[in-house]
């Protein structure tokens, strides 16, 4: 592996936007593979940042700075990826459940998934349960991700699972839930396929799910 990729990965972890920019241009100059630079450099760095977040070394602001640094690199490298080098992205829908307008957590999960080669269809907030399903069918996603911050709105998450079951589509999509008042116990109770306690964990969970699905 190119030494440059390792440096890119380090620069993302160090939140060093200027260095990422400099290294990305060097990748192009030295005619290294742009796709590999993203995959083995930037994405790898983001993955490491996610681990640091899980280990409580990094917090939300650091995670976002890492993502900013990564995105600067991606913007520079993207036009140089050979078309056949593109890997197909896994698709998910994400949204905040009906009645709830708190979307900071949801946005963070979305950002982390995007840095890990997922295509995220963002339904926004205050999303009715059936809309999750309708859009999931329309967009042919693999995972439905639902977030809630309020104890008073979380029960509507169960309706997504119930509707899926009634419409005979429980096996077609995996349902992942998360947010302040949510726990593994709650996820089990409503019959969701997964629960994630934070954004970094959500990425790992989704990777595991699509690994199994494919």
């Amino acid at each position: 592996m190119s030494e440059l990729f390792q440096k890119l990965s380090d620069a993302v972890v160090d939140m060093d936007e200027d260095l990422v920019e400099e290294l990305a241009y060097r990748v192009i100059e030295e005619q290294e593979d742009a796709f590999e630079a993203i995959d083995k450099g930037l994405t790898k760095g983001m993955d490491r940042a996610g681990k640091l977040f899980e280990e409580q070394e990094y917090f939300v602001p650091e995670l976002l700075m890492c993502a900013d640094a990564m995105n600067i690199g991606v913007e520079i490298l993207k036009p140089h990826i050979k078309v056949n080098g593109l890997r197909e992205k896994h698709k998910v829908v994400i949204g905040v459940i009906e009645g709830d307008t708190h979307d900071i957590g949801k946005n963070l999960v979305k950002l982390m998934l995007e840095t890990s080669n997922f295509e995220v269809i963002d339904l926004g907030r205050d999303v009715p349960p059936q809309t999750f399903i309708d859009r999931a069918i329309e967009e042919e996603v693999e995972i439905i991700m639902i977030s809630s911050l309020m104890t008073t709105t979380m029960d509507a998450m169960a309706d997504v699972v119930t509707n899926l079951r009634e419409q005979g589509m429980k096996d077609r999509f995996k349902v992942v839930v998360g947010g302040g008042p949510i726990s593994q116990g709650f996820a089990d109770k409503i019959g969701a396929d997964g629960y994630s306690k934070d954004a970094a964990n959500a990425v790992r969970l989704c990777q595991k799910i699509v690994g199994e699905v494919v």
Binding site: P61, T101, T151, T152, G180, P181
Partner: protein, 555 residues
């Protein structure tokens, strides 16, 4: 059916197999504090099962994890423990601990004329009682010298009731109590959810009404008055508490667009209270679902709309309500700080009761000064202590701006602090007192709480296009705020550094504002017009709120 024997209470409860210990307790009237309402997140419902084994009790996987030594000793979470065989249970007596809770009953007052809504007039035979110009009842003989009212602050955690002489304006006595609803559901949202069913609402309504009646009895005895001579009660509290105290289903408060069912600014009958048979309850005007009558009372007590220059009024708590006043024009918002300040989700967190560390300061000499409630051995950390500890450690550069502990090897802080940096469960922690630790996770919780509050402040300033240094006065209301120090608030960045020297702590203005409503009926009309003009800002709908919040997570 299986039997759960609550040994400490001497009560046996029969339940279906698979029901939980908490359900058994609730059925039999045994009080186990379960503030998170059986979500398995708070860990407060911990009980000891004498004959715990795998066939008698199955515990569901919960967010809150007991310490290994606790599990070995037979402890389990009552809300998650499903019972399959007869068991014996020892409850933790947390409810009696609450009796040592510190509750503040004093707040800022201002002077006003006494123009009570209630007036009495003896016609030579009987005494007529009026509310405004309306005759509400008659009493035999001359009772015109006996006219009392109550101002009740209905807090999410605590209740404070003050008995007021309506003729003289004098406060005769006051009492405080724990809001009994907090035993079933600690925070506002959990309580809204609990009360969204008719049975839940009835339980919440009855428990608060019973407690208020107990308080009425206590103040009346204390002041040696006849409680039938109490004619008006002011209910001041947050919007959700007002709904619950008025037996109104609060479900719409918990879902976007967060609309109240009642808006206050009126009287209702007090038939469920043990006061005069024609007694009334006055509800101050509601500003919004999350900025309630307690804040309306606060605005009145602080005379916020009359102040020159720019003033910021903040009630710091689980929900931080804030109002900014600029030459009589008011904007209000609220922000979800979460329960960290109540000691929840904090490894060694507890409420401000006996054994709680409430004060922490690192002197210039490096010496650490602490104070613990009740002068006993420190067993935990309460909200004010938590803010002090984190604030002082940030200032001493033990905690970096990113919220991480700086290791003793890299740190430039004093040797005696280095000695208190201890590896516990694989993580570097700060030993606050013997066997009481501040963990890295606790700092994250403080960051989230202060980030939410500070983002609220920043958004209010932004909405009015005001810079922090232009704010002339910052008033911190509420009993929690009263125990905080300006230095700690600035150290952790809950408030901008520009507020230094401008902060004053004005106490329980929900109560004192309620008194003003009770004693001067003119305020009812003027506050009703004022509240209509207040711009209620919903933070989640503000552009860039998330960016500001994330920025403010750092110290």
């Amino acid at each position: 059916m299986v039997k759960v024997n609550f040994i400490s209470e001497g009560i046996i409860s029969s339940i279906n197999k698979g029901e939980t210990i908490l359900e058994a307790a609730r059925k039999a009237g045994v009080v186990i504090e379960a503030p998170c309402n059986a979500m398995g997140t708070c860990g407060k419902c911990k009980v000891k099962v004498v004959n715990l084994n795998e066939s008698s009790v199955v515990s569901r996987e919960a967010r809150h994890h007991l310490k290994p030594e606790e599990s070995q000793a037979g402890y389990t979470l009552a809300c998650q423990a499903q019972v399959y065989e007869d068991i014996e249970v020892v409850t933790e007596n947390t409810v009696s601990q609450n009796k040592t809770l510190k509750i503040l009953s004093e707040g800022m007052r201002f002077s006003y004329d006494i123009i009570s809504n209630i007036t009495k007039c003896f016609d030579g035979e009987k005494t007529k009682v009026y509310s405004g110009k309306t005759l509400i009842g008659e009493e035999p003989g001359d009772t015109s010298s006996q006219a009392y009212g109550l101002s009740i602050d209905i807090g999410t955690t605590t209740l404070v009731a003050a008995l007021i002489n309506l003729l003289t304006g004098e406060e005769l006595t006051s009492v405080s109590a724990l809001n009994p609803q907090s035993l079933q559901a600690q925070d506002v949202l959990t309580r809204i959810k609990f009360a969204s069913s008719p049975e839940g609402l009835e339980m919440m309504y009855n428990s608060i009404t019973d407690e208020i009646n107990r308080m009425i009895e206590n103040v009346s005895k204390d002041a040696k008055i006849n409680q039938r001579h109490i004619y008006e009660v002011v209910y001041s509290g947050n919007t959700a508490m007002l709904h619950l105290a008025c037996n109104v289903n609060p479900v719409t408060l918990g879902k976007y667009p967060y609309t109240p069912q009642i808006f206050g600014g009126n009287n209702i009958t007090a038939e469920m209270l043990n006061v005069s048979p024609f007694g009334l309850i006055y509800l101050p005007p509601v500003i919004s679902a999350y900025v309630g009558p307690d804040i309306t009372s606060g605005i009145l007590a602080s005379q916020l709309d009359k102040k020159k220059g720019i003033t910021l009024f903040i009630d710091i708590g689980t929900n931080g309500e804030m109002v900014i006043a600029k030459e009589g024009k008011l904007s209000a918002t609220s922000t979800a700080a979460g329960p960290a300040f109540e000691g929840m989700n904090i490894a060694y967190g507890m409420r401000a009761g006996k054994g709680a560390l409430e004060y922490f300061k690192i002197e210039d000499s490096g010496e650490i000064i602490t104070r613990t409630i009740g002068d006993v051995e420190t067993t935990g950390i309460c909200g004010s202590g938590l803010l002090d500890i984190v604030g002082e450690l940030v200032k001493a550069q033990v905690i970096g701006s990113n919220g991480r502990f700086i290791t003793p090897e890299k740190g430039t802080y004093s040797e005696n602090i280095k000695k208190q940096m201890i590896i516990k469960d694989g993580k570097l922690c700060f030993e606050v007192a013997h066997q009481v630790f501040l963990t890295p996770q606790d700092i994250r919780q403080v960051q989230l709480a202060k980030g939410a509050l500070r983002a609220g402040v920043e958004m209010l300033l932004l909405c009015l296009n005001v810079k922090a240094e232009e704010v002339a006065l910052v008033e911190i209301a509420g009993s929690f705020g009263f125990h905080l120090r300006e230095e700690s608030l600035l150290n952790i960045g809950l408030l901008p550094k520009e507020f230094e020297g401008k902060i004053s702590f004005i106490g329980n203005t929900s109560k004192t504002g309620g008194e003003a409503f009770l004693l001067n009926t003119d305020f009812r009309e003027s506050m009703r017009s004022l509240v209509k003009e207040i711009d209620a800002i919903e933070l989640a709908n503000q552009k860039d709120f998330d960016k500001v919040f994330v920025r403010e997570l750092s110290f």
